[in-house]
């Protein structure tokens, strides 16, 4: 049994690698589906904004409120804006955005492509002359890859605003002082690695969702499983990429 599942895991990994390579081959093939890409960008980016925004706002607020007692203990209350700006921009806002998108977008893609697969719409598309991979997978993966960084930057801004409100619940930090201190603590080595890794987060979410949906089987039950595993694997992928990203950033001296 365990040997079987191990074999399945290996074959899954191999299929996935092939899927990724196929994505890059298909990406540069002619006849780009621009209209479909924009439509997917709208769904992935704009439609996730409210969810990501609320989450980021709450994260900024809560992080500030939670950090205050510890900093007060050290007599470093004035460092609150600096601390939350670094932790939000470097880590929390990108990862939270990616996880929210993995839940919302990844499951959506998995379920959508899975149901198209089991109802044989994909096969029909192939027959009618449209490249289903190009039309369905490339557009969705490109949409998540391009939109996640934008979402993450907006999440940064909203979370920092939440932090401003949080800092002013018990203490007093003026608007100007707060932003001066926030940007004082940040440098390009904080912002750029965090920004670049969100592209990879978006790519992982899109490619995992598409892979799980594209390889869905066993009828409607398979659709549910595709959606579910898409979320689980995408979330795990986000953390794995985060781990790799922090090591690379550390190696390159972006500390």
């Amino acid at each position: 049994m365990s040997e079987n599942s191990f074999k399945r895991f290996l074959s899954d990994a191999g299929d996935m690698t092939g899927f990724v390579l196929r994505f890059f081959r298909e990406l540069f093939k002619p006849k780009q589906e621009w209209r479909e890409l924009l439509r997917q960008c709208y769904y992935v980016g704009y439609n996730s904004l409210s969810l990501v925004g609320i989450t980021a706002f709450i994260m900024g607020l809560v992080l500030t409120i939670q950090s205050r007692p510890t900093l007060v203990e050290f007599g470093a209350e004035a460092w609150l804006p600096k601390m939350i700006s670094v932790s939000l921009v470097r880590e929390i806002a990108p990862v939270i955005t990616a996880l929210i998108c993995a839940g919302k977008v990844g499951s959506g893609i998995g379920a959508e492509l899975g149901s198209m697969k089991v109802t044989e719409q994909i096969d029909a598309m192939d027959v009618s002359g449209t490249n289903p991979f190009k039309y369905l997978v490339v557009t969705r993966v490109m949409a998540t890859t391009l939109m996640l960084p934008v979402l993450a930057v907006i999440a940064d801004a909203i979370a920092l605003y939440g932090g401003y409100l949080g800092a002013n619940i018990k203490g007093v930090v003026s608007w100007e002082l707060y932003w001066t201190q926030v940007f004082d603590a940040l440098s390009y080595s904080d912002l750029l690695p965090a920004f670049i890794k969100t592209y990879f987060f978006g790519f992982a979410i899109g490619i995992v969702g598409c892979y799980k949906g594209f390889n869905s089987n066993k009828g409607t039950e398979g659709v549910g499983r595709s959606a579910n595993t898409a979320v689980v694997v995408a979330s795990l992928a986000v953390f794995l990429i985060d781990l790799i990203a922090v090591q690379i950033a550390d190696l390159l001296g972006f500390t």
Partner: protein, 320 residues
């Protein structure tokens, strides 16, 4: 379903807002590192930079005016630090300003402080080298602190011994706790206070007296201040000296005379010193006494003679 153009507008807005946030963040972070303002470069040589790094702030009169661009070692005793300073502060920083390495707060980042000198000087220019002040090293501070700590511990040990002795000494405690002692001390203080007040009065009087003496009032004042009197006194003293000289001379004569008298020389000497003469004198006196007693008997006989009785009776009446 919404219309396609509407969705595109929303998507465009979304992307533009996101990009704008990113650009704003990058601008502010870059502005902090002086990437977008006109700057110039100056150098400072330090013996020890105490952990200063590229990107640390440069402060002039407490204002952030730039950043540290690079820290390069030049020799075993010299580290060159290049500083990027914003152009707008160029006219305020003089060539004779002093640079030192400090810390932002107690635990904060290292920074370079530029302190202006009181002396006049020319404005700084691109590529100038500022003089540096030796930074206060934490190690050195801790070494001094360690020494202080040892001293304090010695003092504390001595204090402990003293307090133990005080605690063990019943005499001292009984003195300290005895209310009578306290009362006495209180009284003594009151007395001291009264004495002090009196002393103040007396010293006031004294100072008044001294003042009047100085001004030549009263006898003493006159004596002390009048130059004529002091001259007279001087003359008197001279005369007294003269007299005493004469006296010494006289006493020398006297000594000579008494010496002679003792040796029986001269008439006085004979009278005082010759024993034969004294014996004769003694004999004469005895003879005189004998003669007077004979005379007394003759006088008694005379009183009783009728010839002279009347005279004696009259004489004794007149005596009464």
């Amino acid at each position: 379903m919404e219309k396609e153009p509407n969705k595109n507008i929303k998507l465009g807005l979304f992307v533009i807002v996101g990009t704008a946030f990113l650009i704003i963040a990058m601008y502010f972070i870059g502005a902090k590192q002086n990437l977008f303002s006109r700057t110039f470069r100056i150098y400072v040589n330090f013996h020890n930079v105490d952990g200063l790094q590229a990107g640390n702030n440069v402060r002039f009169a407490g204002i952030d005016v730039g950043t540290v661009e690079a820290v390069d070692i030049q020799s075993d005793s010299s580290v060159q630090v290049s500083l990027i300073i914003e152009d707008e502060y160029k006219s305020y920083i003089k060539k004779n300003a002093l640079a030192s390495i400090g810390t932002d707060g107690l635990m904060g980042n290292k920074l370079v402080n530029i302190n202006s000198s009181h002396d006049p000087g020319l404005s700084i220019e691109e590529g100038d080298v500022l003089a540096s002040v030796h930074p206060i090293e934490t190690d050195e501070m801790l070494r001094t602190l360690n020494k202080t700590n040892n001293d304090v511990s010695t003092i504390a040990r001595n204090l402990r011994i003293i307090t133990e002795r005080v605690n063990n000494s019943n005499t001292l405690w009984s003195i300290l706790t005895d209310p009578a002692v306290a009362e006495n001390v209180k009284n003594a203080i009151v007395s001291i206070k009264i004495t002090g007040e009196r002393t103040a009065v007396i010293s006031g009087d004294l100072s008044r007296i001294v003042a009047s003496v100085r001004n030549g009032k009263g006898t003493l004042g006159a004596l002390i201040t009048d130059t004529a009197i002091s001259h007279q006194i001087k003359q008197t003293i001279v005369k007294i000296q003269l007299v005493s000289d004469t006296m010494a001379y006289i006493s020398g004569d006297l000594k000579y005379i008494t010496g002679k008298i003792r040796n029986g020389e001269g008439a006085v000497g004979t009278v005082l010193m010759d024993t034969t003469f004294a014996g004769n004198l003694n004999k004469s006196v005895i003879d005189i006494r004998k003669a007077t007693s004979g005379l007394t008997a003759s006088m008694e006989a005379l009183k009783n003679s009728f010839l002279l009785r009347k005279y004696f009776r009259k004489h004794s009446k007149a005596g009464k």
